[in-house]
């Protein structure tokens, strides 16, 4: 069920825009003329109608879903890379330097990620890479903690002494013992992190601080739709349903 839902969301994001023209910025003048700029739902050419500029809402919804997934997955990749590196450093370093890295990560863990991201993105500028990198850097903390614990457990495993007696070198032990432990910990932490990153990105999009135009995410579509509640409720309801499906797919996998 979870796999089918994930597949459905991915297919919707990948090929959904093709179903109704494919361009989220193409203006349908006929649709615009027929209602004098007002929103109208469910006519033949446009599955969810058009907005006040004559742009197809279905296409925009699928493109928004795609944007949210792309930002979320990129942020997750950043978090996995940075978190694994930090976690490995925390697991290996001892003494003052190890303590400093530990304290820095503890301080970072006490802070609300979205608020920090808001501060950085508001000055650094919006865009795919800044948003993904900021969210990834701030989301790396749980990954680093999980990797550190796994690495500490792996390095103190009793069978390593036997392996060393039998002549196993560092790289051999790293390959057969450390890497699987770190990989499993990183995978679990990333599965738990992905929904949080998607929610953080959605909130940033809702506040107008995620992808700039022409990019769009579900958060920005929700913010757009919130201004049309009285005459086009589906402009809010459909992105809301898409956020729900996306989070359901990622949370149930977690």
């Amino acid at each position: 069920m979870t796999r089918k839902l994930t597949l459905f969301v991915l297919v919707l994001a990948a090929v959904g825009p093709l179903g109704s023209g494919g361009d989220g910025y193409a203006v349908d003048w006929a649709a615009l003329d027929s209602t004098a700029g007002a929103l109208h739902g469910f006519p033949g050419n446009h599955w969810l109608g058009t907005d006040e500029l004559g742009r197809d809402l279905w296409v925009r919804l699928c493109l928004g879903l795609r944007g949210s997934i792309v930002v979320g997955v990129l942020a997750l990749l950043f978090a996995a890379l940075l978190g694994t590196t930090l976690g490995a450093l925390m697991g290996v370093l001892r003494g003052v330097s190890g303590g400093l890295v530990d304290r820095a990560v503890e301080i970072l863990a006490a802070l609300p990620v979205t608020v920090l991201a808001l501060v950085v993105i508001s000055t650094g500028g919006r865009g795919l890479w800044p948003v993904a990198a900021t969210l990834g850097a701030l989301g790396a903390v749980p990954v680093a903690r999980a990797v550190r614990v796994a690495l500490l457990a792996a390095t103190s495993a009793p069978y390593l002494a036997v392996a060393r007696i039998h002549g196993a070198g560092f790289w051999e032990i790293a390959r057969w013992s450390y890497a699987p432990a770190v990989g499993a910990a990183c995978g679990t932490a990333c599965r738990l992190l992905l929904p949080q990153l998607l929610v953080a990105e959605g909130l940033l999009g809702f506040l107008g601080l995620s992808l700039p135009e022409p990019g769009m995410t579900l958060g920005s579509l929700l913010a757009e739709g919130s201004g049309r509640l009285s005459h086009a409720p589906w402009a809010v309801a459909t992105p809301a349903a898409a956020v729900f499906l996306l989070l359901l797919a990622t949370r149930s996998r977690a």
Binding site: A110, L111, T114, V119, T123, G124, L203, L207, G219
Partner: protein, 327 residues
């Protein structure tokens, strides 16, 4: 006898001194962490390219330079940091870029209580939804209502505040009795909806943890002794099972404080409530860095204070737990 009393007194004194040292360390950690968080923000703010005055309206570089000089942004970053730290210590937090000549402390003093009240009400409403649902689900897991409640609460985890806030507004606006149109009742209803929107994710998390704790409680060794007392079922579940969970729940739910303050940004934006989230979101859009840093201090202080309270409550509640679980 006198020797025993003296030994007991000295043990109590030792325990209290350990407690007070721990409490002092934790209290001292709050401003330190808030300062560290702001230092991090400050560094990130200086490292990332961009300027608060690099807007579409200000295209003239000379004007931008003049503005930067007027706000002291042309100085080295460490000078700016010390300047800002001095302003924080004096309690003013500097001046806002967006609201000219208005100290950030005034803005924060207006916004902080609104967010605190909103968060507190959301916590109360969320717990009021979650605790009875958790008791119902753990008490009779096969009942239809329990299955429905379980599904509902799990699905609430997938409805963040930036989704629930406009949806609730939509639902209330589309009912035949549109209370939002009434100027007198409208503001009350909107505030109620804001609290409800913020409380839904809280309810989902509290529900999950309560279910876990309740299952642990009914699996504990003292539960058969309670069951053997022939007490009314309601009393067994509410007083003993749920009562024994509360201290642990406060500890596990402390991280929710950060989520509540983050979620408040969307809720306060949708319902136009003049809280910390609304202020922060507005400052982020206008690149008002002093306000953002000031708001960051407030957020971090609140989160750390809640975490300290959550750490204290289980220890204080151990006595209560002893009463609640008599076996």
């Amino acid at each position: 006898m006198a020797g025993n009393t003296a030994r007991l007194g000295s043990r109590r004194f030792a325990a209290w001194s350990v407690w007070s040292v721990w409490l002092m360390w934790r209290l001292a950690a709050i401003p330190f962490t808030a300062f560290a968080a702001c230092g991090l923000c400050f560094l990130l703010w200086h490292w990332v390219p961009g300027s608060p005055f690099a807007t579409e309206q200000l295209t003239d570089p000379v004007t931008r330079d003049h503005l930067a000089a007027a706000y002291g942004l042309d100085r080295p970053w460490w000078v700016q940091w010390f300047q800002w730290s001095e302003q924080v210590c004096s309690g003013s937090f500097g001046s806002s870029f967006q609201y000219r000549n208005l100290p950030v402390a005034v803005l924060l003093a207006q916004a902080w209580p609104t967010s605190l009240l909103l968060g507190l009400l959301a916590l109360v409403v969320g717990s009021a939804m979650a605790l009875p649902s958790a008791v119902a689900v753990v008490r009779k897991p096969e009942a239809r209502i329990a299955v429905f409640l379980g599904l509902l609460m799990d699905s609430l985890l997938c409805v963040p505040t930036f989704v629930s806030a406009p949806l609730l507004l939509l639902v209330v606006a589309s009912t035949p009795f549109n209370l939002l149109a009434d100027p007198a009742a409208g503001s009350v209803v909107e505030y109620g909806l804001a609290v409800l929107a913020l409380s839904l994710p809280i309810a989902a998390v509290v529900f999950r943890w309560t279910c876990v704790e309740l299952r642990a409680a009914i699996g504990a060794s003292w539960w058969p002794a309670i069951a053997a007392r022939h007490l009314p079922e309601q009393r067994r579940w509410w007083r003993y099972a749920l009562g024994s969970c509360i201290p642990q729940l406060t500890g596990t739910l402390a991280p929710l404080a950060a989520d509540v303050l983050t979620g408040a940004m969307a809720v306060e934006t949708v319902f136009s409530l003049p809280g910390l989230g609304h202020l922060l979101a507005s400052a982020a859009r206008h690149r008002d860095t002093p306000v953002m840093l000031g708001a960051m201090v407030c957020v971090v202080t609140t989160v750390m204070a809640v975490q300290l309270l959550a750490d204290l409550l289980p220890a204080v509640g151990s006595r209560w737990r002893g009463v609640a679980s008599p076996a």
